[in-house]
């Protein structure tokens, strides 16, 4: 298993540059969460890692440069769960998870028995076997997100990229989803790079947090080091109080009283 490294990576869409020279290393098996306000470049960094947008600088998986790999080779190392996956209408859970085998199937061939077995075992792992013939677009939010995760795992990647994976899920399903990801990365050894909105939840699962603002890294470290009230005021224009839970993880609570007393204008 390999980690992923970024060396002065810049990327954007068309003429608009969103990321400016990001340096970051994620160790094999590590979980790093990207935080930052809307438009900070979290999704863009994930897309750069997945090789789906043009980038300058260098993204490496292990010692291999992502830009130099063929799409098939790259997709065997890096899997992306997008924020709003496109669900083809009518596609069944089985057909959808099987898409993850694409980089392993030779161009002119159909899937082998091995591919079918991997597909089946990833579905089993995420408790999807009973849903195999259901259309993905008929599933509940939690089931759908597990299906998308199963597709990514069927790629058997070294690096799993999750873009806001729990947005749209209720609290229980958020926990359930992140617990399965955590358990699988411990068992299988891939590293996880995830963009998160919920700072407290991100702090509970990630080994390290990376705070992005304006396309630049403005804070890296253990959750307790990165999540401070001053930082969040500065970069999110938010008034919060940061508590610490029993396990020593930070808990971010919005603080309305401070905001209303006038200090809340600080970030504006």
């Amino acid at each position: 298993m390999s980690g992923v490294g970024f060396a002065s990576v810049s990327a954007g869409y068309g003429d608009r540059c969103v990321l400016h020279g990001v340096d970051l290393t994620v160790a094999p098996g590590e979980w790093v969460a990207l935080i930052g306000p809307n438009g900070a470049g979290k999704s863009t960094l994930l897309k750069a890692a997945a090789g789906v947008i043009p980038t300058t600088g260098e993204v490496r998986v292990g010692s291999d440069v992502v830009a130099g790999m063929s799409p098939r080779h790259r997709a065997r190392r890096v899997a992306l769960v997008p924020q709003a996956p496109v669900i083809p209408s009518g596609a069944t859970v089985f057909e959808y998870v099987l898409l993850g085998r694409n980089p392993h199937i030779p161009y002119w061939r159909m899937e082998s028995r091995h591919d079918l077995e991997v597909t089946r075992s990833e579905m089993e792992r995420l408790d999807l076997l009973t849903l195999a013939t259901r259309p993905v677009d008929s599933l509940s939010g939690g089931e759908r997100q597990r299906t998308v995760l199963a597709r990514a795992l069927a790629q058997q990647p070294d690096v799993l990229l999750l873009d806001e994976p729990t947005s749209g899920l209720d609290l229980g399903h958020q926990q359930q989803f992140l617990e399965s990801v955590d358990e699988l990365r411990r068992r299988l050894g891939f590293c996880v790079l995830t963009a998160v909105h919920d700072l407290t939840l991100g702090a509970q699962y990630a080994d390290r947090l990376v705070l992005l603002a304006g396309g630049r890294v403005v804070g890296v470290g253990a959750p307790g080091e990165v999540l401070t009230a001053e930082r969040l005021r500065r970069y999110y224009a938010a008034e919060v109080t940061v508590f610490v839970d029993a396990a020593g993880r930070p808990v971010v609570v919005p603080d309305r009283a401070v905001r209303r007393s006038g200090n809340g204008a600080a970030g504006r």
Binding site: P71, A75, L80, P85, V86, A91, M110, A132, Q155
Partner: protein, 345 residues
């Protein structure tokens, strides 16, 4: 043990195929038997069986009946099957590659472009062997223009953008085609009858002229059916799944255009096959292109053989152009697909 058993829940594919193949076989036999000179069913089947290498059957057909079967009816059925199969699979492929349920060789302007190419060959008196090549060139230019037009704003925004671009391109190519056709007064009638869509003058020559092109196109499309399923999740995700999206798209569009061009070169403009057939197949077998493409080939063949049967018997002894028959079925069908795709948005 196969994948089907391992997974348990994997949908079964054989039933729709058997059903569609049965319709094709029944339609073909009907088309061989029915006509101004009615042939006995038993005699036709025996005569066909007699041609199989290890069988020797006395059919009881007169030599005139045998000639009608071998020189008139059979090549016409074969051509209908080849053209229908080509248009059916091309329609399915265009829908997959453009991710647009309304894409079809006719609506994208491909057929009109191919018609222009073929008209130029007929009017200039060049060799008939050039027909498929000229039709392919015209079709390729048309589909490239349609796609470029639809993408003017960067990406293709809605389903209708592509179709509207196709309408514009088709109208333009049809206008040029009509102009070229009128330039040469001695071939006007020939071109006009052909452009309306017909299998009337079908002999084995036409079958052998386009069969190689259709075979190549079908082979490419069938081997790429798995990639169409990957393309269905959109460009970004397909790329993240290891697909070389640009290359796969181009390959599939060229193959579908080759199939369309071959069909147009011998049968003129026959619309709506590419809409009716793949959508009917989806209702029977689900939406995966793994099954939709091969089934569209067989179902397209069945549909056109039956449509041709209607075309030559409805007003017998006069013939209705087959394009009229397919449009009569296809246009209402198109309306239904349009209504459903708008509701799904």
């Amino acid at each position: 043990m196969t994948g089907t058993v391992v997974l348990g829940g994997r949908p079964r594919r054989s039933r729709p195929l058997v059903m569609i193949a049965a319709v094709l076989a029944a339609g073909a036999v009907m088309a061989l038997v029915v006509g101004p000179a009615g042939l006995p069913v038993r005699g036709v089947l025996d005569e066909l069986a007699d041609r199989l290498p290890w069988l020797d059957v006395e059919s009881g057909l007169t030599s005139r009946q045998a000639a009608v079967l071998w020189e008139l009816r059979l090549p016409r059925v074969a051509l209908g099957a080849v053209v229908g199969g080509a248009l059916g699979i091309a329609g399915g492929a265009y829908q997959g590659v453009f991710r647009n349920p309304l894409a079809d060789p006719y609506l994208l302007g491909v057929a009109a472009g191919a018609g222009l190419g073929a008209t130029v060959v007929i009017v200039s008196g060049a060799a008939t062997a050039l027909l498929p090549f000229a039709a392919f060139a015209g079709g390729a230019i048309a589909v490239a223009t349609t796609y470029a037009l639809a993408r003017l704003g960067g990406t293709v925004r809605t389903t209708s953008t592509l179709i509207l671009a196709g309408v514009a391109v088709a109208s333009f190519f049809t206008a040029v085609q009509t102009f070229v056709q009128q330039l040469a007064s001695d071939t006007v009638r020939e071109v006009f009858a052909w452009i309306l869509g017909r299998l009337t003058t079908a002999g084995w020559d036409e079958v052998w002229l386009v069969a190689p092109f259709v075979t190549v196109a079908v082979a490419i499309l069938v081997t790429h059916r798995r990639h169409l399923d990957v393309l269905a999740v959109g460009e970004t995700e397909a790329t993240s799944l290891g697909l070389d999206v640009g290359r796969v798209r181009l390959t599939i569009v060229l193959a579908a255009t080759l199939a369309t061009a071959a069909a147009v070169a011998v049968a003129g403009l026959i619309g709506f096959v590419g809409i009716v057939v793949p959508h009917t197949v989806r209702m029977l077998s689900g939406t995966s292109y793994r099954t939709v493409l091969p089934l569209s080939l067989v179902a397209g063949a069945a549909f056109l053989v039956l449509a041709d049967l209607v075309a030559r018997t409805a007003l017998s002894p006069a013939e209705v152009p087959i394009g009229v028959v397919t449009a009569f079925v296809g246009a209402p069908f198109f309306g239904i697909v349009l209504a459903r795709s708008m509701r799904a948005r």
